[in-house]
């Protein structure tokens, strides 16, 4: 009898401890959204043309684009892409970017493209939309970090 009373008392004390701990004030501070860091080298994972996936029908494997921390980029131009030459890049909003702008070397025109930065199957992606050729044809490029 004494033993069961002891067990009951211990269990009650433990429960009380948990309840007290659960009532501790939570840290409700909202952290600011981190700036999106796209610095690194990216390759093409998939491409759609006018909404149709053409990834398997064209060799995109050699394409690379390297975004540098100083705002410049280098493009390995082995596929039609929204820009053709190296240059500089900027995001319209560091934390919540919706557009990326490219200015090619030797030019002043900004090529503005829709930009998304989702995580797909645990892997960060850059999604770019643009028209490297005729503006009636829209391409969507999904980029992933190159190994």
């Amino acid at each position: 009898m004494n033993q069961s009373r002891y067990i009951f008392s211990a269990a009650f004390a433990l429960l009380l401890l948990l309840l007290v701990n659960a009532c501790q004030k939570e840290n409700t501070r909202i952290n600011a959204e981190a700036a999106k860091d796209i610095v690194g080298t990216w390759k093409i994972a998939s491409v759609t043309r006018n909404g149709v996936d053409i990834t398997d029908y064209f060799d995109f494997s050699a394409f690379r684009i390297q975004f540098k921390g100083d705002g410049s980029y280098i493009v390995g131009h082995e596929a039609p892409f929204v820009i053709a030459k190296d240059g500089t890049w900027t995001l319209d909003d560091g934390a919540y970017p919706l557009r990326i702008s490219f200015i090619q070397q030797g030019g002043s025109q900004a090529f503005v493209n829709e930009f998304e930065y989702p995580v797909v199957e645990g892997v960060r992606r850059i999604i770019l939309k643009g028209s490297p050729g005729c503006n009636r044809n829209t391409y969507q490029y999904a980029l992933v970090a190159a190994e």
Partner: protein, 332 residues
Amino acid sequence: MKQYFKKKNGWKFLAVVVLLGLIFACSIDIVSIDQPSEADAGSEMTVTVNCKIDPAGTNNGSTLVVGFLVPKSWNAKQNTSAFYTCIPMGADNEKMSLMPVSERESKTQLPWADALMSDKRYALMGNIVADMEWVVFRSTKTYDVNSGITFTLRIVTKVGEENMLVNLGYFIGNANDGLAAPGNDKYHDGKYARLTVVNGTGDLIDFVNPQIAMMELAKATDNDIQTIFYDGDLVETPLSNESKIYLCAKAYTSSGAVIERCEITDHSAFKPMAGINRFRFDFWPRSYFGLTETQSLQRMEYFLTDATGAKKIGYGGSTAETDPFRFTFNCQ
């Protein structure tokens, strides 16, 4: 069963038949289309569409909806006017207004132009090149239609600048009923008429006839990824039984240079597609023809060959050197 109709429920059956008869008597139809079969590029063209309505009972407050299917390159929204005349209804050459994008078709809840393009009964109206659009108009007044009437539509448009063979589509309906489902679609109708545009720019763009080899992108520059689809079963040619198909092409730059790539390698090989005897070739013209930074392509001519290069076909399956497939790089 015979007893069922003869005795107890005969009058009910009769009532249902009469009711069904009344429902199916209500219809809106395109009777005929007076459209030229040929027109000069850039000219003004007038089309008259003769229609009739057989209503069942009263149809109050109907807004007339008219659709016009045209190549996108015509910019028909800016270059087209539609009028309707129905003397019994007091409408004499009434001008119609463009259907606002915000006005949704009642069944699909899509903008009318998108609803027509996504409806298999109308969509491309016999064209196989998808570079078309529906331009939709509506009457600015509503009408109570309670008796059988005929009416005419007059569509005035500016023909595009490119040579082409195309089916122009015409649709009539009303805003209340929208695009009713098949089997109950007496409240709308669509028909098309063929047009050849001559004395215009570029090679003939054939929207109508299936092509042995067809470029996927009707409008493209040399910096697009273009696709050539080849259907070996469409017409019997020397290549019909070949399992490997190659491209033999000449590209013409805007400065007059000619670049030829006619080789039998993996780079010029078509890829087999699902289904028998269908292939595709995806290429980036700037890279494929090795253009310099300052060069741009104006057009290309091409043949398809077998693995030896001995069998070669061009437009329509022709084996003549004078009949290549042709494509003009143009984004307008």
